[in-house]
Symmetry: C2
Subunit: 312 residues, 2 copies
């Protein structure tokens, strides 16, 4: 198994990426070979500084870097020697089985959609977030920003993609799927939710339990919550800010600590043909390590193939 | 000044309503006369039990009650002797200057829209919530559920209504207005946000500061945040659930205590001709007391007249 990692992506790259790789290699018995894509002299220097050598890593030199604020499509086209472009090249030619980056999110999405492509039948790929539940369990919310406007059919597919992910990666056997809405009863909601409800109700690939209100997001009611990417993104960023608020106010409590999204590494793009994990710009070593673990698990569990089967 | 109160609305009525009225009368030097609408014998019994007499209250007998789950329009039409129907009758005939209820929300909205009516020029009235900010200040979020689907022109009006409310009731001189969105830059967002941004930018009645992301909701960045009622309702209910989570986990911290929405009493309907305050079904004495204080302030400050001037 080969995993490609953009070592130049994120606010603290390449140092934190290097530290994350070292943490992964030291902690795991994985047989994965890590393709570390970035400025080779810089990477060699850092690995030397940490006195780290391993046959689990392979450096791939990338002459260029796509900055966080560059226009995604333009940058990908013009910077063929960037770490992200090389990563997608390795992935599309099956030199690596998954690709990870905490760099320019737009470029990652463009690369995923145009170089790796959506699974046949998938209307729109989606990104999700882990939701730490108040009772200690873990749920999934999707979409969280890739699709700001959605059609009911898309939400219906997110439910399937989320169900497979929850089964394979979160280990939930029969995930309860909820539709994010502003009332409990069928017949409540905005136009999108009203039109989506009957599709979810009829969908035999999922275990639909009905509407989920804002107050239920952190509760155990549903394992997979579907919504359009606008509301999902607001929820994700609010939840992230709660962790900051708790930190700032010295509130040390296991629940609020679980809202530290670095624990979860990154978010995979669901509905594309191969595992691609996008990290937060502020990713540090722990996030990089966890993204590698996630990519490894997605390859092992053959998640994308299972999604293909459910979507058709 | 006369304030009408539905004493039969809410899960703990009439007892908690009675206790709230007593708390208000004992704590305030207000000259307001409270019209207490409900089952007169029951109310007399409760005031007797609490050994409370005052010339600040006046009991108005209501033979009927609209239950929480009754169909709003049907119930209002058929139960003319209900406390809510009598309340709206008193308000529309100017016997009272404001009306408060923690009862059937739908009936309160229907009454507000059809018996009191929207301010001329207002496309859709709206409901808002107080947002306790991390730095100790207080902001406003609207709409929080009355308008699940919105047009850009509605959001533009919410910005005006919210600005007047923030000035008059929250005491913020020049409230910063933010558009809830999934990116900071102009040109980001869903179709609604994209179409709303230029309207807010051109709006001379408000102090527009740009887009506000989910992470900024609890921060000081904006005083008034506008969004459609779907996302707003999800945020409101998530915030309420955070207070419950903190309580359940014995997290005693001033910030999370401020998320106790009972502190804020209820939400006024903005954009109608007279002050109408809707309480949460779980309202207890503190919420009732605070709703009366809010109604009093809205009358004193002549908020509705000021909104009329800004809207035209």
């Amino acid at each position: 198994m080969n995993i490609g990692i953009d070592m130049m992506g994120g606010d603290f790259a390449p140092r934190e990426a290097v530290k994350g790789v070292i943490d992964f290699c030291n902690a795991s018995n994985s047989s994965a070979l890590l393709y570390l894509i970035g400025n080779q002299p810089k990477l060699e220097e850092l690995f030397h500084e940490y006195n780290f050598q391993s046959d689990k890593i392979k450096l791939i030199h990338a002459e260029q870097v796509i900055d966080m604020h560059e226009h995604p499509t333009k940058a990908l086209k013009e910077k063929q020697q960037s770490s992200i472009a090389i990563g997608f090249h390795l992935l599309s030619t099956s030199k690596v089985d998954a690709f990870i980056s905490a760099g320019n999110t737009g470029a990652m999405l463009v690369g995923a959609l145009f170089s790796i492509k959506a699974i046949e039948g998938v209307l729109r790929p989606t990104i999700s977030t882990i939701i730490p539940k108040e009772n200690g369990s873990t749920g999934l919310l999707l979409d969280v920003g890739l699709n700001a406007d959605c059609k009911p059919e898309q939400l219906n597919q997110f439910a399937i993609l989320g169900t497979v992910y929850a089964q394979q990666i979160l280990g939930i056997e029969n995930p309860k799927v909820g539709l994010l809405n502003i009332g409990e009863e069928e017949g409540k909601g905005n136009l999108l939710a009203l039109a989506t409800y009957p599709l979810l109700k009829e969908n035999k690939h999922i275990n639909f339990i009905g509407n989920i209100e804002g107050r239920d997001v952190f509760m155990e009611k549903a394992d997979v919550i579907v919504c359009e990417g606008f509301t999902g993104n607001i929820i994700l960023k609010m939840a992230e800010s709660l962790y900051s608020i708790a930190q700032k106010n010295n509130i040390q409590h296991p629940y609020f600590n679980r809202l530290n999204f670095e624990n979860y590494g990154g978010t995979p793009i669901l509905g594309v043909n191969k595992p691609i994990v996008i990290g937060h710009g502020i990713s540090q070593n722990k996030a990089f390590k966890n993204m590698i673990l996630l990519a490894e698990k997605m390859i092992e569990k053959n998640v994308m193939e299972k999604m293909k089967k459910e979507i058709v």
